[in-house]
């Protein structure tokens, strides 16, 4: 039976090595057009300010009163019994009022008060849109993590990145819409924080790790170059036979087209993480020359995040690096060392990322969000730790249409509870979606007998935060 040369065969013959195949002609082919891809970009509901999101997840919960929410009252009350009403806490080990061990300083035109934990980020104060009145509903990591990521405090709902991939697809042609850059720590609640829930599995996070195999099963295992191409050549032929025998149905054609994406990813991913092409200055900017291992790890994550944005990936989440002797930002004891080490790992890379995005003109349509699952108590846990505090904490956004150089909302004089312009996680999701051009009330998926949303039946867009 005479058979025309397939694209695969063409690919196979053109190949001089893995990753060196020109793919543009393939992409132009309507037979493998974007219509069949679950990642095809979709039109937003309204004009988008941001094209991509970089979510800097601060695992364990950063203390607001030691970072961006300066409270002189704590200095006055230091060592005294906490004088406001205390809600039950995770460890029920209430100590005295605890002032911040760090000094605060004002930065930039905005005069934002930032502690010595974040001197580099402080330098970028005028880009930050700081929300000091964020609240969560849960005091436990796991429930709070699910809530932060999925809008529900329980397992199994789609992560915000999955929603954004589902709602908007991705501009990238060789990468999926939702990527997690795993610095070494997987949050409490596990991979489900990045799951697709009831959405199609295509929208679950593609998790990149640092190291030899950045992505599961991305490396061909064939011992000789060219073998995979030969296999794919044969496969393509046999698959065409399947189409002929069974019929050209969508399911089969999409599954065949899916191999194209996978194949492109095999080349794209190693290229992506190979940062040799970046200038020395850029590498320094991200702290890749740091003597501190975790700084280099997180710097690399930040740099790859920028490269993913350049590729057009819709949602990129960064998890924290694993720092020995610390349980993420979760400073139940030894606040000083814990937060000190964690800020050392993340401060310079984050500032570098903002600066780099800005200088490349990318910050305006890249929304950077910095958030933990909750904050920490202004009173001590034991003598020198802080317990979980969902009642008022700080997050910040930058770029992507967020209003630069402002602070929004406030906690009480202790930094314990949000009392002014309170926002909750649903509001944050609604606002992020809004900046991406999506109406959080319209982006739905039918499940459980109703149209489900990232914001469930809640959420308001915080228009005050939008430039």
């Amino acid at each position: 039976m005479p058979r025309p040369m397939s694209r695969r065969e063409m690919l196979g013959r053109c190949a001089t090595g893995f990753g060196a195949v020109a793919l543009s002609s393939l992409l132009a082919d309507p037979a493998y057009g974007k219509a069949k891809s679950p990642f095809a970009p979709r039109k937003p509901h309204h004009d988008a300010k941001a094209k991509s999101v970089i979510f800097l997840y601060m695992d364990g919960g950063v203390s607001q009163v030691d970072s961006f929410d300066y409270k002189p009252r704590l200095e006055k009350d230091n060592g005294k019994p906490f004088s406001a009403k205390i809600n039950p806490t995770q460890f029920d080990n209430i100590g005295k009022t605890l002032k911040s061990p760090w000094n605060f300083k004002q930065y930039g035109q905005s005069g934002l008060n930032v502690s010595d934990l974040f001197p580099h980020v402080g330098e970028m104060a005028d880009e930050l849109c700081v929300v000091r009145s964020m609240t969560s509903k849960f005091s436990e990591h796991n429930s709070a993590n699910f809530f932060l990521h999925t809008g529900f405090g329980v397992q199994g709902r789609p992560s915000m990145g999955a929603w954004m991939s589902y709602g908007l697809g991705t501009e990238a042609t060789d990468l999926p819409g939702f990527v997690v850059l795993n610095g070494g720590l997987i949050p409490s609640g596990g991979w489900d924080n990045f799951g697709n829930g009831f959405l199609p599995a295509s929208h679950q996070a593609t998790v990149f790790k640092t190291g030899k195999e950045p992505l599961a099963d991305i490396r061909p295992r064939e011992s000789r170059p060219g073998v995979q191409q030969a296999k794919l050549g044969l496969l393509n032929k046999l698959d065409q036979g399947v189409l002929n025998r069974l019929g050209k149905v969508d399911e089969l054609e999409s599954a065949i087209a899916n191999y194209e994406m996978a194949y492109r990813m095999q080349a794209a991913v190693p290229e992506l993480i190979d940062v040799k092409g970046e200038t020395e200055a850029t590498r320094k900017l991200y702290g890749l020359d740091s003597k501190y291992d975790p700084t280099r790890t997180f710097g690399m994550q930040c740099l790859i995040a920028r490269r993913l944005v350049e590729k057009g990936v819709r949602f990129i989440e960064l998890t924290c690096p694993r720092i020995s002797g610390n349980d993420r930002w979760d400073a139940h004891g030894g606040l000083k060392k814990n937060h000190g080490d964690n800020s050392r790992a993340t401060d310079q890379p984050i500032a570098g990322l903002l600066r780099d995005l800005k200088s490349r003109g990318m910050l305006k349509d890249t929304l950077v969000v910095w958030s933990g699952e909750f904050g920490r108590t202004p009173f001590a846990q034991g003598s020198n730790g802080r317990d979980h505090n969902p009642f008022g904490f700080t997050i910040w956004m930058a770029g992507g249409g967020a209003k630069p150089g402002i602070t929004y909302g406030a906690t009480d004089e202790f930094g314990y509870r949000a009392v002014e312009n309170k926002l909750d996680i649903h509001d944050m999701h609604a606002t992020m979606l809004h900046l991406l051009g999506m109406d959080h009330k319209k982006m739905t998926y039918f499940f459980d007998g109703r149209d489900m949303r990232l914001t469930d039946v809640h959420g308001h867009v915080a228009h005050d935060l939008i430039a």
């Binding site: 329980v154 199994g156 489900d192 009831f198 060219g226 019929g247 191999y259």
Partner: protein, 1132 residues
Amino acid sequence: MSFFQRLLQGTAAIGLGMSAWPSGLAAVEPGGIEFFENHIRPVLVQNCYKCHSEEAGKAKGELLLDTREGLLKGGEAGPTIVPGDPKASLLLKVVSYENEDLQMPPKNKLPDDAIAKLTKWIEMGAPDPRDGKSAEISDKGEFDIAKRKAEHWAWQSVPRDVQPPALDADAGWPRTSIDQFVLARLQQAKLSPSGPASRQTMIRRLYFDLTGLPPTPAEVEAFVSDTSPIAYENLVERLLASPHFGERWGQHWLDLVRFAETRGHEADYPIPQAYRYRNYVVRALNADVPYNDFVVEHVAGDMVKQPRLDPATRENESAKGAGFWHLGEATHSPVDIRGDECNRVHNQIDVYSKAFLGLTMGCARCHDHKFDAISTADYYAFAGYLQSSGYHLKDVADPVAQDSAHKKLAKLRAENETRLVTEYAATVKTRVSRIGDYLPVAAKILNEIPTGEDAPKPADYIASHPTVKAVAEAAKLNTDKLAAWVAYFDKARGSVADPLHGIVKVALGQSRGDSLAAMRKLEADTTAQAKSVKIIETVEEGERNYVKSERDWRAEDMVADYRREQDSGEWFTGGKQFGAGPMKAGSPVFGNDPKRPIMEFNENGAARNDELSTRFSGLIRTRTFGVNGDMLWYRYKGKADVFMAVNSHRQVAGPLHGIVRQKLDSKGDEWKWHGHRVRDYIGFRVHVEFTPRGDFALERVQFGGSEPPVIRPVNSRLAKLLESDTGLAKGLADVFVSAATDLAGGKAGRETAQLLNWVIRHDNLLERPADLGQAAAGFAAYQKQRSDIEKSIPGASWALTLLDGSGEDEPILVRGNHKSPETKLVPRSFLEALAKREAPSRGSGRMALARRMVDPANPFVSRVVVNRVWHHLFGRGIVETVDNLGATGKAPTHPNLLDFLASQLMDRDWSLKDMIRQVVLSSTYRQSSKPNMASAKVDPNNYLLHRMPIRRLQGEVIRDRLLAVSGRIDKRQFGKGPMVHITPFMRNNRSPGGSGPMDGDGRRSIYVEVRRNHLEPMLMAFDKPTPFSTIGKRVVSNSPAQPLIMLNNPFVHAQASIWADALLNSGTSATGELVNLAYQQAFGRDPEPWEAEAAVGFIEAQKKETGNDSLKQPLIDLCHTLFNVKEFVFVN
């Protein structure tokens, strides 16, 4: 009760009395109106009207604040203010941001000044000039269950007389009634069905659909060449009878109950024995347990009177069904433990209603269902069933053997008890015969022992005293025994707990009158103390600031009192250990020690595990009760583990809640009190479980401040002795003898037991004839018989199920907020639209619920399950939304067919295999899947089934197929199954130690551990759902992870290699033959000539590339390529 609950109850009561009051107030307070206008109205307008006014068109929380009437009436949470009483006014609580869940205005706390003004205004009596009627607000008016029910097809009962439609012409196509329904719809659309699929196609289709495994080449060959006219029917029967049938259909079922073996969240703790539920499902489906029974087992399997047994192990299968309730996720250390419970119960209701009823009851948690005939009351009425049923690890070992042993032991005891105690009683006289000799001598010696700091111990004194021996010998007393008497006297004179305390005092010189008076005083004092027990209540003021207050003990502070008989509504035990009720006072406890055949007589009634045999397993639990004091006290003896389930929370692992676990160990024969500090749970609903660790007796559970006193009643026989002139020593012996006489006469009670226990425990003081004669022989025979029966008690085997507790109803939680309960409870009941509200009288009432569910009058259970069968065989249900037959679900494509099948199911003993058989025997199922352009134009989504769909195999089937084709598969069934393989990529800071084998030991996917936080990446990529809710219809997605796995995953590569080895060992080395064989194994067919040519060409080319003549690597590469051919992951 939480702070907020109390607040609501308090204000509700006050609010009622107030409603008539305020209208005249404004006039009374002349400056009042001005104050309102200057300070209050602006605050209300600016901060409240946006959400609570007619003008804004919003009445959130059913509250309007734009009129005086509205303000006073309040909303869902009760009246807004109590004029004159700021402290009791809800308004001030919410604006002061005291309660995390009710803070207004929601975004910004009011300035302190505004709050001060509001406080003052309420103090002034809340003068308010605004009049006008507050608009009626209630969205409840629109909700009408009867109307909802009438308007949607799914609520209508299943008609039992649906006949297949008459056809214009059927061209001989229909084989079964199903085909008539399908063909009629096709004809209406002027379509015809597709032709029959080939036999090769049909055998693959049947194998994958019925067993999830591919046919072997030999099986294909046999079927294709089978000339029997019923070859197809025979094949269907063989597959329905295959042990692998239950593995395929079991997987479908596990998707419905969010099956997993760990609890997820931070630490992913294991769910004990979860895998046994999985095995139960596989076995039940293989055994074709009627579906109605299967449903009953899920809802109330623990209560089935004659449980179904696993033929292999004789375990109680029925009870295992009810394990599904607890397969969900669970948090350890929730800070808000009630909130956590509500989420857990919500998941249970959600799963239950979707899996069995195809209804989304979960929607009614916060409001009446927006579309279906399900009210919020229905939701909370159902929640009560779960509140009345606890998590239970039950001993499911052969229940028949357990029952039979239990009955035999009870019978043996009943037959022998009278005789044995009579024989025992007969020995008492001998035992106490020399009390009169020892008592005065011992008393005299003790009185001579000097007292004071340097005083010798009685035993030392006796040993060293030169005259004691002489005294003993003179009186013909045994020196050691005399010493024991002296020591006993020394102890008893100081212990009011000793029943002979008063007698000993008299023996030592106290007057009879004084001693008796002291005994009576002790009784009076302890009785008074017991009545005046104080309870320390810890009241929350705010949430963490406790205030202690003391109150008198009340009857409800007695949680469980086993001193009296229990009626069946208050006796909650799991397993057989505790029998049918508390052991009565005066009953003997028979031991195994030949020297002490009667361990003791039970003095007060008590729950005891030693009445028949402690070889049975089990636990005893209290009713569910509210914690209303600081300390809970347990009066017990022996050893047990205590678990207090607070709001049904189970996953205890610190840092919080460790205190719910306690260990009891009396370290001896004495009754003890154990105090359990429960202050952290004041206001919470709890129950307490006691699991014995050896002999265990529990007398009562009660609240108390400090350790509750034990009443010490005067023993009337001893009192009588002291009142008489009888000599003390002789009189005492007579008292014992008369107690023994009463015992023999069947008149034993508390006092008898007390006296005879003294005898038993003071063997060393008493006479012990070398041979107790008849009694000893009788006891030995009894002990032997008993231990023989005990040997037939099967060793414990644990499975997850439920255990009924007290009947508990739930209140409606306003807007689903657990901090806003209504005061009224909703009686436990099945959906109002399907059954009359009928509260169960005792226990959970789950069995009645289960019976209602499977009553043919309920249209959902049968329709839902036949629709699921259809879905699994055609890739789409007759109702596409298989978990939702409600108003938002899809309409059925063949409504009459659905009813026909539901009716058939019920008529044919609810047999699922029969239902599957009916479908797969139809011409509809046997159609070709080849697309037909003309039909596709009319019916592009193939709703009318003009052809068979082409379906992507599920992840588990793909993995099993890889194993089957490579030959690596291990078809062993059941067991615990291998741990999931933690790939190096998955491994993270939260991973468990160790890892399962990469290929899962070759076991079928259904047996590989489902670990919530480490789900199998390959299965997940191929759309295995996250186990969080009912998923009757899996998404079929297309993600690059799928081809990446098939191309690069080491497991897939390993299977290619194993397969190639097997091919090379098949006896041929001819490339063409190898390719043929590979095709037969992979796809159940021969390759087409061009395929064979391409495959052979590939191998030759690869050989040339390597410059090596070995076939092995090229064959591996071919095998790997064949895995990736779409035919491998699709079935047509």
